[in-house]
Amino acid sequence: MAVTHPEEVGAHEHKPPFLTRWLFSTNHKDIGTLYLIFAIISGLLGGYLSFMIRLELMEPGFQYFPDGHAFSAFATAHGLLMIFFMVMPAVIGGFGNWFVPLMIGAPDMAFPRMNNLSFWLLPVALICLIVSMFMPSGTGGPGAATSWVMYPPLATSGHPGPAFDFVIIGLLAAGFSSIFGAINFITTIFNMRAPGMTMHKMPLFAWGVLVTSWLLLLSLPVLAAGLIMEFTDRNAGTGFFDPSMGGDPEMFQHLFWFFGHPEVYIMILPAFGIISHVISTFSRKPIFGYLGMAYAMVSIGVVGFIVWAHHMYTVGMPVGLKAYFLTATLIIAVPTGIKIFSWLATMWGGSIRYTIPMQWALAFIFLFVIGGVTGVYLANPGLDTAVHDTYFVVAHFHYVLSMGAVFGIFAGFTYWFGKMSGYLYNKWLAAAHFWFFFIGVNLVFMPMHFLGLQGMPRRYVDYPDVFAFWNKVSSIGAMITLVGVIFFILWVIEAFIVRRKAPANYWGEGANTLEWTLSSPPPFHQYEKLPQIK
């Protein structure tokens, strides 16, 4: 796209003092930075929890955990941390805050103070979650061992202690944070695009965040309602989910998955946007089938709301309902396929450079296809009966999240790191991060497909000896992944120590969205004269 008035650099460089700047921040870039730091901290915590899970499962028997409760408490906290406190803050709060205003030519977010509130609710939520791990559960040791799905009666009468109340309060705080953020993004994108930046010229990352924001706005209140009903069941004598009082525990599962399925698209759609920009930049070609790509995301978002019960095929649903949810779920494969093939078509005829972000993006495409076809597999209730609640499911959703969303985050982080920090990173350290991580996560999760087909159930602290081989392979993969994470920390620290100055557009031709017309890092307040898009 053509820009007639690129921003003059450093027009207004007045930065507030440290505490005011970071605690009372209303600047979208500072808030984005806070979100990213927060996501890295949560990611390391959640990674520690998952590493302990893999250590325990490396051999049959009890090695590190005293009982199944402690193990499940770790797994529960791992799931909640990675979803609500790592992936969502990184892709929506972090990259969304940083790059949606820059890409659409807006000086800041629509509601800067609400933006600040959105962020600061998250540390409160995280503290609640961490505190819950040390509170009595009422059964077994400390912590909530409900798994992240929090089904009653396990989460109500099964966990009488305060641990699970802290989880509810924490998730409500995180939910409000996301709802405020969603309102902010929707308003910003609808009202603050630069002159000439029509919806159909808007970069795909902004499209991804827009669709995600609508999903958050519509699905999170349903989760909040379910959680509040659990809270009153636990503390106020209601019986929404208690059969002895006329309630129905399965009702919660419907409420949860009405939120839970859009939630998986909430995590992946912004990553789709990031991948589109990375592929286009390093193929030196505009994205292929732009409108198809944008509306594929919209249709994934819409259909995502009518498929939730495919997570519940074994609860005892009427057969006709299962047939409906099977059909509706398969439909999602069509827009997803459009995205995959459009990325490949963008590369076709391009002049491809294998930079670090491009490596993450290419790995993303391939691994997301694997996670996608196992998703089609799980959509079939006939087969789901065999693999439901087994490691096959764990393998599937880690291929789309731990490889999909997380690879998207790393693609974005290595793509925009120089733009955000003003410094270039060491290519070899970043490449080591990629390769150890890539090999590690595949070794962790590929064997889980086989374990699942063989029937190994999820959320087990100890397993029969016949599952030993693939569990060992998987745990070795976790150790390789850990090396990758260490390289990640190393290249970030190295970049801030060595301070190689990044030029405004360090990727050169191909990087043609608006953020590349600004300096690296961009001025504290950008676009005092709005750019004109032709």
């Binding site: 059964t139 396990l154 209730p381």
Partner: protein, 309 residues
Amino acid sequence: MRNLRFIGGTGLSATALSWANLTFAANKNGPTDGGLGMQRAVTPVMESIVSFNNVWLVPIMIGIVLFVLVLMVFIMFRFREKANPTPSKTTHNTMLEVVWTIVPVIILMAIAVPSIKLLYYQDVIPKADLVVKVTGDTWRWEYSYPDYENVDTIISNIVDIPVEEKQGLTHAQIIKKIEARPADEPRLNGRPYLLATDAPLVVPVDTTIKVIVTSNNNIHSFAVPQFGIKIDAVPGRLNETWFKVNKGEEGQTFYGQCSEICGINHSFMPIEVKVVSKDEFRRWIANGGSFGTQVSQNTQGAVKTVAAK
């Protein structure tokens, strides 16, 4: 392969055989260490699941993944910066976009049709010859036979030692401890640790059995992989499923594990199903749920009732 009826007899038997060889390791029961596919099927439903998995869906999945991989590697090589320094400016090709929308739709329909057939076969319960009621409890299973009042509810617990005594022990050491118990306590007797119970569910071979499942407290899930069944045990609800173990499987024991998180001992409430011949099952019922050889006088009536069924 009778189950090809779900696929409509496509000529994929070569793929099926190679994959099946990986799957059915030497006719054994239960999972295989290092195994890649599903467990050996012993009911018509599970045979259908395995065949849909092996002959149809997994080959399609592998085909799609390989197609994308090969295409991507080709593009990465052919259009690298050195080989193609000037990029094209193409951003649209309507024909191509129509094709990659239509072809996936066709593939999905080819999956959906046999999948829905399988679903209805699995979920529509045929007329049952025997009803078994399964109740999940924290953390054990209870089995009862509503048709036979003389058989007491079977309470099925795992054969294990307390968790405090297990810390740091390998399974071999734990098994040794279990086998060293006094004679009146349950032992493994060669059955797999973490799957064996002190009282199995006993069912006859070649009989359509309806399973009614519920729970006393938390949600559990009753699953026997080789039967192709998995159904949640939900308090306040009666769920149902069915199975019919193939002829020739009498005398075999099959295992399953609770498949919905239910608390601290979720990992320790296995399901053990002993399949017996119809005659033996009649004797077992007549004996009030015992494998003793003598049929007591007061259960003669029950024998007649069972024999009539």
